[in-house]
Amino acid sequence: METTYLILNAIVAGLLLGGLYAAMASGVSISFGMLDVTNIAHPAFIILGSYIAYIVNSNWGFDPIVTSFVVSPLFYLLGLLLYRVYYYAFERKGQQSLRSLAFFFGILFITEVVLILIFGVDYRLVSAAYTEKTIQIAQYAMTPDSTLHVDLPLRMVVPFVVSMVMIFALNWFLSHTFFGRAVLAVAQDQFALRLMGVDPVKIKERAFGLSLAIAGVAGALLIVVQPVQPSIGRDFIGLVFAVCVLGGMGSIKGAVVGAMILGLAESFTSTFAGPSWAPAVSFGLLLLAVAFKPSGLFGR
């Protein structure tokens, strides 16, 4: 019975964690998967989102997640600007691959160092009504003194729900609007898109802005789930790209499923083998997926 509850808890924790990962990876699914822009600085913008949520929350007590949606237009504008620089400096000259990788690495480190200079390397966290509460479900009395139960910590549940709603909306937007369909098309054939009367650079610019807006929100979700310090962004580079590749490049649905799989894998390994094995199992899964289905689970 104890094992059953251990497994149940691992599943629930894994799915909740997967919800967070999905929010962090869906922006990369747009920039890397659909626009072919290898934005490895994406986690840096997530951390920036975390710190904005932290500043507003610790100074004025506003809800971190609501704050992140309010400031998301700023992230969008930042994205427009960044893509412009990227486009004129690299993409237009056909030098995307290696040089732009260095460019985004630079952005990652600059953001990180600026945050360290301002806030130091201490872990920061936010507080809201839901961050301290845990709901217990499926209670089972072993003995009169000890009960088994499944934990639903609200600091995980709230980000999970926000993430799922946001991604659902994003997916709907991409498949049902003219702009969304153009985003899906832009990586497939830019020339053909021009023949539809669409300027592919404008589409990519706006879509990149959208991916950064999502990064900002994902940052707030992250700092609700766990304390954040400037350099943990780097730990997530591998994770978010792994989620995109596992799920299938450019598929939002795939990114969600990939995030859930990695969340579950991490949760199960932490429960049964110890947390230090978690990355090994996650990336082992990725290797298997790439070996047997290189296009990813939902790659079309």
Binding site: R181, A185, Q188, R194, G197
Partner: protein, 242 residues
């Protein structure tokens, strides 16, 4: 309102290689004009120059849309498309990982096309019943003939006044070639289009063409009406082997 294209003394090429040598060509309102010529003679380059894809060295390209004349030199392809000129490109260039319907809806991106989206979509599904059946299939998984239909339908979805078609018959079985050419004729009648079609297949192209040009080594070697084309010695030599 008249829709026409006029190319005057056009020279164009790629880098140091000049492909078109002082080419003049005209497509008048409501005409279907075919441009004949074998591979490498400059048909595609001419079409690409009209669409702003190849930047000409010298010469004029003008289009009259609803009676207003536009100078196309220096315009980007997407701007030219927004004027009301659509291109069905060589090799079709569909979005392979989008469904047939998503491909068609992308065609309706420009403002004028959005206003008529339901009407145009209905028409496309009527004209190409096969596409209606397969509207949710990925475009990349369809056969060559079906893909050519999607490409034509997608161009129609842009609500064009002038339609340019680059080698519609390439890679298609003979039966599909004649069906494709018939569909082009149908589309033209329905939408009162002005059509310029580059084609290698003389027998098929001449079925729907009002006039034709033969382009050889970047020069226009022949220009004439349909009946003149069928009786021309050079065309006989080039295409009919007589």
């Amino acid at each position: 309102m008249a829709n026409s294209i006029k190319v005057t003394d056009l020279c164009a090429g790629y880098g140091a290689v000049q492909v078109l040598n002082s080419v003049s060509l005209e497509v008048r309102d409501g005409e279907t004009v075919t441009m004949l010529g074998t591979n490498g003679n400059g048909k595609s380059t001419l079409i690409k120059s009209i669409m702003g894809i190849v930047k000409p060295i010298s010469g004029k390209v003008e289009a009259e849309i609803d009676g207003v004349t536009h100078n196309l030199i220096g315009m980007e392809p997407e701007q030219i498309v927004r004027l009301g000129i659509a291109l069905v490109p060589e090799g079709r260039r569909l979005f392979p990982k989008l469904t047939v319907e998503e491909n068609l809806l992308l065609g309706a991106y420009r403002g004028e096309a959005r206003a008529r989206i339901a009407e145009n979509l209905d028409f496309c599904y009527q004209a190409f019943s096969r596409l209606a059946e397969r509207r949710n299939q990925l475009a990349g998984s369809m056969s060559g003939g079906e893909q050519q239909m999607v490409a034509l339908a997608r161009a129609v979805m842009t609500s064009p006044k002038i339609l340019l078609i680059d080698e519609p018959s390439v890679g298609l079985a003979p039966i599909l070639v004649s069906r494709t050419i018939e569909k082009i004729g149908e589309l033209k009648d329905k939408f009162k289009l002005t059509v310029l079609m580059a084609e290698q297949n003389f027998h098929q192209a001449v079925k729907i063409a009002d006039r034709g040009y033969v382009i050889v080594h970047g020069h226009i070697e022949f220009e004439g009406r349909r009946d003149e084309m069928a009786n021309n010695d050079m065309i006989k030599k080039l295409y009919l082997g007589i």
